[in-house]
Symmetry: C2
Subunit: 235 residues, 2 copies
């Protein structure tokens, strides 16, 4: 969102900038982003990326502020969180110059199922269509969302990032299928297995097997909370 330059000499609240979040998860409708309907002007009633002012009295740093907003909107405490970019110019807010630090967050579908999805009635999951959503967004948020999508789609190629969209326990086939959906192309089964094993970011859950009317599959979990590098590239 956006900044108002009010009179603020010794106020506890001194508007510096906002943090905005592109929060993604896999819903029954596929990859989706959480949007919030704006309560106040400007753009009252219009959908926007969840965000809020940095509260310099309670937020120790930018990431803390982003986590606070995320917690308020979704209840989720430990998402995958990554700074995307910072936008700042004179046009993005009708009230004048404003700065927004944009974060990308990925939420496990476990957390969605636990009723943490969209907490308030004013927040809702929107399925991704192409480079955005099928609704008009406030400010420059359509652009920010498009940038966020570009980032995560690129990162699918060389990181373990998509694993954070799955439940905490999953099979290799489920993971591969997710990669394929995000990449939009089929992957080779044995190559996928091999690379995942080499990267070493998955831990088999001993004894646990996913069973259906066929050969049961080994169940895995992520080794660490944050994303590890799948190949040899970062950023």
């Amino acid at each position: 969102m956006v900044q108002i330059m009010t009179t603020h000499d010794n106020d506890a609240f001194k508007p510096i900038a906002t943090v905005d979040l592109a929060i993604f998860s896999m819903t029954p409708n596929g990859l989706s982003v959480l949007l919030a309907r704006r309560a106040n002007a400007p753009f009252a009633g219009v959908w926007a990326l969840p965000g809020g002012w940095i509260h310099i009295d309670i937020d120790h740093d930018l990431e803390t502020a982003a986590r606070r907003v995320l917690k308020e909107k979704t209840g989720v405490e430990m998402p995958y969180l990554e700074q995307l970019q910072t936008v700042g110019n004179a046009n993005r807010d009708p009230r004048g110059w404003s700065i927004s630090v944009v974060y990308v967050a990925l939420i496990s579908s476990d957390d969605l199922a636990a009723g943490q999805g969209a907490r308030s009635g004013e927040a809702q999951w929107w399925p991704i269509e192409g480079n955005g959503v099928d609704v008009h967004l406030a400010f420059d948020h359509a652009l920010l969302l498009s940038d966020a999508l570009t980032r995560i789609r690129k990162k699918v190629e060389y990181s373990t990032l998509p694993a954070h969209l799955l439940p905490s326990r999953f099979t290799l086939s489920e993971l591969q299928s997710l990669y394929e959906r995000l990449l939009g192309r089929k992957l080779d089964k044995s190559a996928f297995r091999k690379r995942v094993a080499e990267a070493g970011f998955l831990v088999p859950v001993e004894g646990e097997m996913r069973r259906a009317s066929n050969r049961p599959a080994q169940v895995f979990r992520l080794k660490d909370a944050q994303s590890l590098v799948l190949f040899d590239r970062t950023l």
Copy 2:
């Protein structure tokens, strides 16, 4: 640098945040970064990354602000410029909460030679040693510099970024040698040639040859001003 929350109701100058720049170039001492000695408190007299307040009345956007600072310090108008990250917390400035948007800039050694290097006596090129420079830096700038180095070293692997550090005309050997210095390992001559040809970001300058007491080398220039992708990855 850093933000002071003064009384500013209808001032033209409303401090929002600062932009700080990690400006790199190849000097006779190898990869170097431009540092400025701080004139005022805090950290008066201490070396720091060049930076400055965003002037919302003259800077249309963040990148404009970064280019302005760069122009002031170096005279260079058309560098390679890329947003690195934004830092913001309560501790980085003794005066309290502050936000800085950090950019990485690469300057052609042509521009250095044209006397544009360090304009004022208070700015100076420092050679990179390991993950930083051999001098104490103000604020969290040692950390920011280290992050900037990590970014450009990673990007060497898959982008044409290093070409922006060379003069506008160069030979393949010069480019390869630069990549090798930045990567810290030898590259294969024919493989390098092949990949550069495939990426198609170099244009041979017809007729021009670099001659010494040996076979003359074809001279090249960059196809476009901004960095193209060398392989099939970005970000």
